[in-house]
């Protein structure tokens, strides 16, 4: 394998990982505060993509102008749908079970994931060309950014890849600022450390939990839009695999740690990319390479990391929580 190809595989892995990371943040934030693995989060990501597509299909002028100009409106639509769904899920599915045994909200989350998937599958009202249809039973075609691929050194990148990286970076910087510098962000840290004491200090923990769900939803919507732009299609079931990968990324990075989620995502993306592309060049292990094996290697890495560092790459050792 040449150096240029290694670079290409690494770059592809980082872009893929940035997408995983954006979704993983939602898992990790919610877990950090309420110790719930929100398995419906993958569907929130899916809804974000569909929300962006809805704006595009619903407002005809968007279809005529350059997609770059339409992007902010599509992103706003995706974020609105995702945040609404995440907040509604918290209010109606998880809050009533706040004090129930931990297994109850977990099973609720899995049920909710199935409900959201099937709602889109059965009742999605608009096709991407603006015509009405009942249900997204087939892959929905997502509009594509104009312009050819660009080459940096020996690495070929799509505009959608660059956009994904830029969005992920912006989102992470904004999140870091929010958590460290703002009042709500600090309240969030306090709630994560000790919800009861935080409540005694006058922090409205219910509100903080809603905010955590909303932020997770917004970042998942960004990933949903990026998914649409990169692959050109959305399916009602795309949240399942993406959610599973993002959950893996969150655990890999240290669940509860937002930077860990992004790092875990990128590590996972790079491992997958190298396993799929790189192993094909080593004759002895060629049969273990290729796209079909990439998930295997991703989970092997997860197991290895958890053996050596059970708390994840950036996680802290927290007795009962990790």
């Amino acid at each position: 394998m040449s150096l240029s190809e290694l670079m290409q595989l690494m770059t592809g892995g980082v872009v893929l990982g940035a997408m995983y990371g954006l979704i993983a943040v939602g898992y990790t934030m919610v877990y950090g505060i309420v110790q719930l693995i929100n398995f419906a989060h993958g569907e929130i990501f899916m809804l974000g993509g569909f929300g962006a597509l809805f704006m595009y299909a619903w407002i005809p002028p968007l279809q005529d102008m350059s997609l770059w100009l339409a992007l902010p409106i599509m992103l706003a639509g995706g974020v609105a749908v995702s945040v609404a769904a995440a907040v509604a899920a918290e209010r109606f599915a998880y809050r009533p079970l706040r004090n129930a045994p931990r297994l109850a909200p977990l099973i609720t989350a899995i049920g909710l994931a199935i409900v959201l998937q099937q709602l889109v599958f059965l009742y999605w009202p608009l096709r991407s060309d603006g015509q009405t249809s009942i249900g997204a039973k087939q892959p929905q075609v997502f509009p594509q950014l104009p312009g050819d691929a660009i080459t940096i050194g020996s690495v070929t990148l799509q505009w959608a890849d660059l956009l994904t990286l830029a969005l992920a970076l912006t989102a992470m910087l904004a999140l870091a600022y929010f958590v460290r510098r703002t009042r709500t962000g600090r309240a969030m840290q306090a709630t994560a450390q000790d919800p009861d004491t935080a409540g005694l200090m006058g922090i409205d923990t219910n509100r903080i939990i809603v905010v955590a769900f909303a932020i997770g939803g917004a970042l998942a919507a960004v990933a949903g839009l990026a998914h649409g732009l990169r692959y050109g299609q959305l399916t009602f079931e795309m949240g399942f695999i993406a959610g599973l990968k993002a959950f893996t990324a969150a655990v890999l990075g240290g669940i509860g740690n937002v930077y860990g989620a992004m790092l875990g995502g990128i590590v996972l993306g790079v491992v997958e990319s190298l396993a799929a592309g790189g192993l094909g060049y080593i004759d002895a292990v060629q049969q273990f390479g290729g796209g079909a094996w990439k998930d295997v290697w991703a989970f092997v890495i997860l197991i290895l990391v958890l053996l050596v560092r059970p708390q994840g790459l950036l996680g802290e050792r927290t007795g009962d929580r990790a």
Partner: protein
């Protein structure tokens, strides 16, 4: 806190109206469905025999599956109108396999349990048929597919060296990848003068079959497969596979699999700067492939185990009837073959009835006799004369090469 109710209200109202809209649209359909079924069930004293139908009716492959179902329905409608078997009314019982072998097997079980059922049309996926075959064969139910192209379904795992019939109940109206993949090789070697090719498959029975058959023919013709890749059947990101292909110096990619992956693969391939054509067999041939791949589809090639229809009066009649029914999904390439698959079952029932003095034998021996009749059957179908060889393959086969030209599939 005070802000929350006012913010939430529009969202919940939107949700409610979407739901209400969905329900409003769905209800009349459901009611209409009940109505038509009721009418058929109540008609007259004639015997009603059921024909099972199995294909992916939901999910990414549903466009093809629904096109096949509409065609099978058309066949049943025609058979009932023309009274092909006097005194017998046919009814299609359709089931969705979601392209998944385990669901196909459950469907096969349900078909077996239905006492009035004489035959099954389907499936679309070779892997699904593979899981249905044993269940249906044990109950002596005739299975005819208008879409399965994997050679092993009829000729066994050693389909070239030592072909052996797998199930005497399984037949198909399309030809196999053993006839299709060599056409791709011929096109590459003779027309494009290409000697280095990358192959990618999706790990399913069908996809692996295509790639293996192709590689054998291509190596024999002096070509070399420089990269062999496999992808997961639900993958969307092919960047690693693409960079592998790009760096291998391959001049073309042969993909064994279906259009939901082939479209994005072709798009990502060309976007990464590898301007080489993607070639596949029938499962890639679909309108959706071009939509998913966009401009990258230009110059991509598929074989189809079928001749395009529209020449004979019978075919024109079928096209007109299909159009008149106003289906959203096109009949595609497998529609006409599925029509013939359905007709195979109907004509087998007719042959059985004719051999039994004009009446259908009772349920106990009906299934076995219909299967026997299918083996000896010869009839004029929509796609030509239908008759089966000792393995259950249609004797009459043809392969067509198609290329994407100006955003449309064009016959070469």
């Amino acid at each position: 806190m005070r802000k929350h109710p006012s913010r939430k209200a529009p969202a919940s109202r939107l949700g409610a109206s979407l739901l209400a809209g969905g329900l409003a649209l769905a209800l009349p359909l459901a009611l209409a469905g009940c109505g038509s079924r009721g009418e058929e069930g109540g008609s007259g004293d004639a015997t009603t025999l059921k024909i099972g139908f199995d294909a992916p009716l939901t999910g990414p492959l549903s466009a093809v599956g629904l096109g096949m179902r509409h065609s099978a329905e058309q066949a049943v409608k025609d058979a009932n109108a023309k009274k092909i078997v006097p005194g017998v009314t046919f009814e299609l019982v359709s089931k969705d396999d979601q392209g998944t072998p385990s669901i196909g097997q459950q469907n096969a079980g349900a078909f077996v349990a239905d006492k009035d059922l004489v035959g099954v049309v389907g499936a679309y996926n070779s892997s699904v048929s593979q899981s249905m075959q044993p269940t249906l064969a044990a109950a002596n139910i005739l299975q005819v597919s208008g879409a399965n192209t994997n050679p092993t379904l009829t000729r066994g795992p050693k389909d070239e060296e030592a072909p052996a019939r797998q199930y005497k109940t399984y037949f198909r109206t399309v030809t196999t990848d053993a006839n299709e993949a060599p056409e791709l090789s011929k096109y590459l070697v003779e027309k494009l003068k290409v000697k280095e090719v990358a192959t990618v498959n999706d790990g399913k029975v069908y996809g692996q079959g295509v790639v293996t058959k192709f590689a054998a023919a291509f190596t024999k013709a002096g070509g070399k497969v420089v990269v062999k890749q496999q992808i997961g059947e639900k993958d969307t990101d092919f960047s690693a596979v693409v960079s592998n292909i790009k760096n291998s110096g391959a001049k073309a990619v042969v993909y064994g699999g279906e259009y939901p992956q082939a479209g994005p693969l072709s798009k990502q391939l060309k976007a990464a700067g590898a301007k080489i054509p993607l070639l596949g067999c029938d499962a890639v041939y679909d309108e959706q492939f071009i939509k998913l791949a966009g401009a990258a589809a230009e110059g991509d090639v598929t074989t189809t185990a079928a001749k395009p229809i529209g020449d004979t009066p019978a075919q024109q009649q079928f096209i007109a009837a299909y159009k008149a029914a106003g289906h959203a999904e096109p009949y595609g390439i497998f529609g006409p073959y599925t029509y013939d698959a359905t007709m195979t079952i109907i004509n087998s029932v007719k042959a059985t009835a004719d051999g039994n003095g004009g009446t259908v034998p009772d349920a106990k021996e009906l299934r076995a006799k219909v299967t026997e009749a299918a083996q000896k059957l010869t009839f004029e179908g929509l796609t030509g004369t239908i008759a089966f060889d000792e393995f259950g393959d249609n004797k009459n086969h043809s392969v067509t090469l198609n290329i994407v030209k100006d955003g449309e599939w064009t016959v070469m």
